[in-house]
């Protein structure tokens, strides 16, 4: 157990934080349709659900929005473009929503997001915080949206994946190659292999999607137990909390 006394005021100098709460991150500047805006908000909000019914609630919200997917597409894209660059999670949530709605018309917008310039790193001194990484996560999620369209038979989506098999960012190339291998037709795959051969990047073909149980696991507890091992306290049981 810790040798520190519980919560004694001390003479150090802890930091102070002031937070301002806003209702939601979006402006809906170009959409006066309050019902549609509310449906988009609900779907985004439900993405972060917790509890036994979280997925059901999320799916219900997406399905409801899906009834107006055509109208929603333009609003979602406009909101994505209006968000400040540093709202990475909020930008990601809109791309995830585009991916969920599986609208063939979204292919062009997803392509624009993937192809957009990645701003220079803003956390240069860090090894764990990286704005470039946040930007790439947004773009690989857009690739995932294109892969879903490709699986639905949207030809433009396959062309987009082939185009981004030569993207300058490794993770985008890797995701595009894997997506096209999984959803493209034989001609697409031939063209992809020829492209990778020409670029000397056949190694991308060897990166396989795997089941987590098939990869080497961490061996917890090896060399690592803290000398002051705490007593083993079970967490409160969830029974009775969720119905």
């Amino acid at each position: 157990m810790s040798g520190r006394s519980p919560d004694t005021p001390f003479l150090g100098g802890p930091d102070t934080l002031e937070t301002t709460v806003v209702e939601h991150p979006f402006s809906f500047r170009d959409s006066q349709d309050k019902e549609l805006n509310a449906q988009i908000l609900e779907a985004v909000n439900r993405m972060g659900g917790a509890g036994e019914d979280a997925e059901d609630n999320y799916r219900r919200a997406v399905d409801e929005l899906g009834k107006r997917a055509g109208e929603a597409l333009g609003v979602i894209v406009a909101e994505y473009e209006a968000l400040p660059e540093d709202r990475y999670l909020d930008r990601w949530s809109l791309v995830q929503l585009l991916s969920e709605l599986r609208q063939p018309e979204a292919a062009a917008a997803l392509n624009r997001i993937i192809a957009s310039r990645i701003p220079a790193e803003k956390a240069r001194g860090s090894h764990d915080d990286s704005t470039v990484t946040e930007e790439v996560i947004i773009r690989t999620t857009a690739v995932e949206g294109v892969v879903r369209l490709s699986a639905d038979g949207v030809e433009e989506a396959r062309k987009i994946l082939l185009r981004h098999a030569r993207n300058r960012t490794f993770s985008i190339r890797r995701a595009s190659v894997q997506g096209l291998l999984e959803t493209g037709d034989d001609a697409d795959k031939r063209e992809l292999r020829a492209l990778l051969k020409e670029r000397g990047e056949q190694g991308l073909l060897r990166i396989k999607r795997m089941d987590v149980s098939q990869v080497p696991q961490a061996i917890g507890g090896r060399f690592v137990v803290h000398p002051d091992v705490k007593r083993e306290v079970p967490p409160p049981d969830l029974s009775g909390e969720e119905g």
């Binding site: 930091d15 937070t19 972060g48 509890g51 995830q96 987590v212 917890g220």
Partner: protein, 224 residues
């Protein structure tokens, strides 16, 4: 002593508003406070950080508790935290055995968290407001691995999103360092995470893949 400010949406996809309803229960507050290194650190978690408002998910303490909730309850069989099970199960045990002292600071924008040795981990604004809920659990596991005696041992590969040539990468998956622990946790969260949504599981997959692609000097050769 620094003063920082942040504007936080009441509703977005981070997961906080929903987790918030769950963690607002004295049994969880007591458990998280006493188990994951908060105890003894009231002074740090006060003054706007949420000590006197631990259900308010616009404040850092509740958002940290949300990460602790995901860490504790995301395995379908969460009561099993045996080291012979998956990291989704024992990640919480590993964190509580290695992080003894968890403190919050504004930070200078160059880190999400830092491991200071001796069980002390500092978390900064990005931990609460850039990371989603499972991402915070991943960060605690990453820092716990440093506390467990595994520093980073390599430079990021050329073209890495974390900055090619910079120190802070792990040499390989087999090194079993902090990046491997974090990526593996995200992978299991994607594959088997309970009490969450497919959207957050997909986000875990995307983040895990970017880590696998960019945080190892030698690419492991697989992806999620």
């Amino acid at each position: 002593m620094a003063t920082c400010t942040y504007t936080v949406p009441d509703k977005n996809a981070s997961g906080d508003n929903f987790y918030g309803a769950v963690i607002c229960n004295q049994a969880y507050v007591d458990y998280f406070w006493n188990t994951y290194g908060f105890s003894g650190n009231k002074a740090y978690w006060d003054d706007g950080w949420g000590w006197d408002d631990s259900c308010n998910t616009s404040k850092p303490l509740a958002r940290a508790f949300n990460g602790c909730y995901a860490l504790t309850y995301s395995a379908p069989d969460y009561l099993n935290d045996s080291y012979s099970s998956a990291i989704l199960n024992w990640g919480r045990r590993y964190v509580r055995e290695n992080i003894d002292d968890l403190r919050c600071f504004c930070g200078d924008g160059t880190a999400i968290a830092r491991s200071k040795g001796g069980g002390l981990v500092e978390v900064y604004l990005g931990f609460f407001y850039t990371k989603d809920v499972p991402g915070r659990a991943e960060t605690l596991i990453h820092e716990a691995r440093h506390q467990g005696g595994k520093p980073h041992d390599a430079k990021f590969p050329t073209g890495s999103t974390f900055g090619g040539g910079k120190s802070g990468a792990d040499s390989s998956w087999g090194y079993e360092g902090a990046w491997m622990y974090g990526a593996l946790y995200l992978w299991w969260y994607y594959a088997a995470g309970a009490r969450t949504t497919s959207a957050l599981r997909n986000r875990a997959r995307q983040r895990g893949n970017v880590v696998i692609d960019n945080a190892f000097a030698t690419h492991p050769g697989f992806s999620i």
